[in-house]
Amino acid sequence: MSDQTSQGVGGLTFDHKKRAWPNEFNVFLALILITLLFEVLGQVLPYMNGQSMLFDFNEARDGTILNMARIKIIILQVAIIGIISLGVTQVIISGGIDLSSGPLVGATAMIAMSFAQTELVNGNPNPKAVFGLWAMDLPVIVPVIVGLAFGALIGSINGFFVAFARIPPFIATLGMFLVCRGISQWWTKGQPVSFPTDSYAWIGSGMMPVVWFIGLAVVLQLIMRYTVYGKHTYAIGSNEDAARMSGINIRRHKVMVYMIASILAAFAAIVLSSKNLTAQAGMGQFYELYGIAMAVIGGVSLTGGRGSIIGTVLGAMVFGVIQSGFTFIKLDAFYQLMAMGAIIIGAVVLDQWRQQRAAARA
């Protein structure tokens, strides 16, 4: 909380110094611990020859002792799922869940990329052209708008089913999960869509995904913390009946929550397809699970009402460090999966343990 003065009425004892540290602190702690773990492993594992994960004392390739390449890839590789995770965070805070974001990424990537193709590839006609010449070399705004509009559509359907038809979010979004997978495979009958225009390729080039991720995270953090939209999202997740009785328009609000989540996922799809210079029906597989996991590791409660965007960003970073760290210590892929599972659980165990100590309850 930004404001240090906290107040009571009736004059009861309240010891301000003892206020608990914010939940996000835990995730930060977990992040540091995991990073240190890899640094230590780099020093002690015999085959690592005392390498450091984040530092680069010998070469200073980038003119700094930090291994900038590694630091960049740590953030870069989670930036896109991170964008999804921002939207998922607010859905979870509202007491829902969104399983459709992964397949939505695939479908949006296919659709948006079809309007971002370039006419000539190395002087030859684009071999992967989806539409005729009319859809070639369109201004970048077209695929972006088309992609975001598609996201908004899917999001509003999700929202409609959850809010108006009162379908459990797990089922409504699982349904859209299947629908979106169908759409992405049907769009080009499974053929990938490639060769975007330069302006489209710029969206996800270099460190741009990180720029988008951080920028959107800041905006969402402000929204969730300081606006009516955010407050109502927390209220609905905290006690939906109470929120309704207090006169919040639950239905309209939920539709917005799901729409924003899907628009963010659609934007992630645009960045993703731009970064990879291609769109493929299978893109985004398991992103919904990772997006949810990032949020939960970041302290967002799956029962709703609790969590923050900052936490989610830190949760995403935990993933980035883990993935990069595994490659760094050359862990076998089999063990990577197992270790990833263990670390996800471990990070949350740490969080629980700290909360319990703080609350000093059984």
Binding site: Y229, K231, S238, A242, M245, S246, G247, H253
Partner: protein, 257 residues
């Protein structure tokens, strides 16, 4: 403008086989304070839920402020001017006291931002303190989440919420059930203030002393039906209890027996 603020005709609610409310004919005049009494399960809260649109009635009519109304939900009832303290309190557990007090009608800045308009935390906190002082409750830290408050503290927050906003009709469902001696006295003061301001009130309570102190008229529910309508001056505690327990029934409500 008619003298009657609220009227229900043949208001009925069945839950499957349970006939929780059966043919309730009820009128409330402007400025009048009426108590509803009755055993547990008599249908008092059910009556409130039908009026405030929390549930949809099985049949019957509700006329509020001269017009027949069909509230689709509590939001519409509140917009029409009915403020309610529900028996279940309707608080958002994970939010703090000011958030709960202003839930659904936050004080905001930059309103042109629509749903993304900014919250004015400072103003809300200040007004929360003022509202709570009126209920006499003690709360060590209003920034703590509601789930950590004691039973009485929660109830006071719900009451403060209702008392903070002006309305055409206030309904309180057992507002002082969990309150201590001092807090009860304070809440009764709030009710008296409403009376002086001429705002009508429906008070549900099991506390005979309180009812006799505060209201003009007492309506008794029994097994889902209204069985008595008593002016305070013409009755007394024992008489009311006789109606509640079924020892007596007013002739005009005889089919309720």
């Amino acid at each position: 403008m008619s003298d009657i603020i609220l009227e229900t005709r043949d208001l009925t609610k069945h839950y499957g086989g349970v006939h929780a409310l059966e043919g309730a004919n009820f009128t409330l005049r402007r400025g009048e304070h009426v108590a509803i009494m009755g055993d547990n399960g008599a249908g008092k809260s059910t009556f409130v839920r039908q009026i405030t649109g929390v549930e949809q009635r099985t049949r019957g009519e509700i006329i509020f402020d001269g017009k027949p109304v069909h509230f689709a939900g509590p939001l519409e009832a509140r917009n029409a001017g009915i403020e309610t303290v529900f028996q279940t309190l309707a608080l958002a557990d994970q939010l703090d006291v000011p958030d709960n007090l202003f839930l659904g009608r936050e004080i905001t800045k930059y309103n042109w931002l629509g749903p993304f308009r900014m919250l004015d935390y400072k103003a809300m906190r200040q007004r929360t303190m003022d509202a709570l002082v009126k209920t006499g409750v003690k709360i060590p830290n209003i920034r703590g989440s509601i789930e950590r408050m004691s039973g009485g503290q929660r109830q006071c927050v719900a009451i403060a919420r209702t008392a903070t906003f002006h309305s055409k009709l206030t309904i309180m469902d057992e507002p002082t059930a969990a309150l201590g001696v001092q807090e009860t006295a304070q809440v009764e003061n709030i009710v008296r203030t409403l009376k002086e301001a001429g705002e009508p009130l429906i008070l549900i309570s099991h506390n005979m002393r309180q009812v006799m102190d505060l209201v003009d008229r007492i309506v008794v529910f029994r097994r889902g039906r209204i069985c008595a309508n008593l002016r305070k001056e013409e009755t007394n505690g024992e008489d009311v209890v006789a109606y509640i327990t079924g020892a007596k029934t007013q002739p005009e409500y005889e089919e309720a027996a």
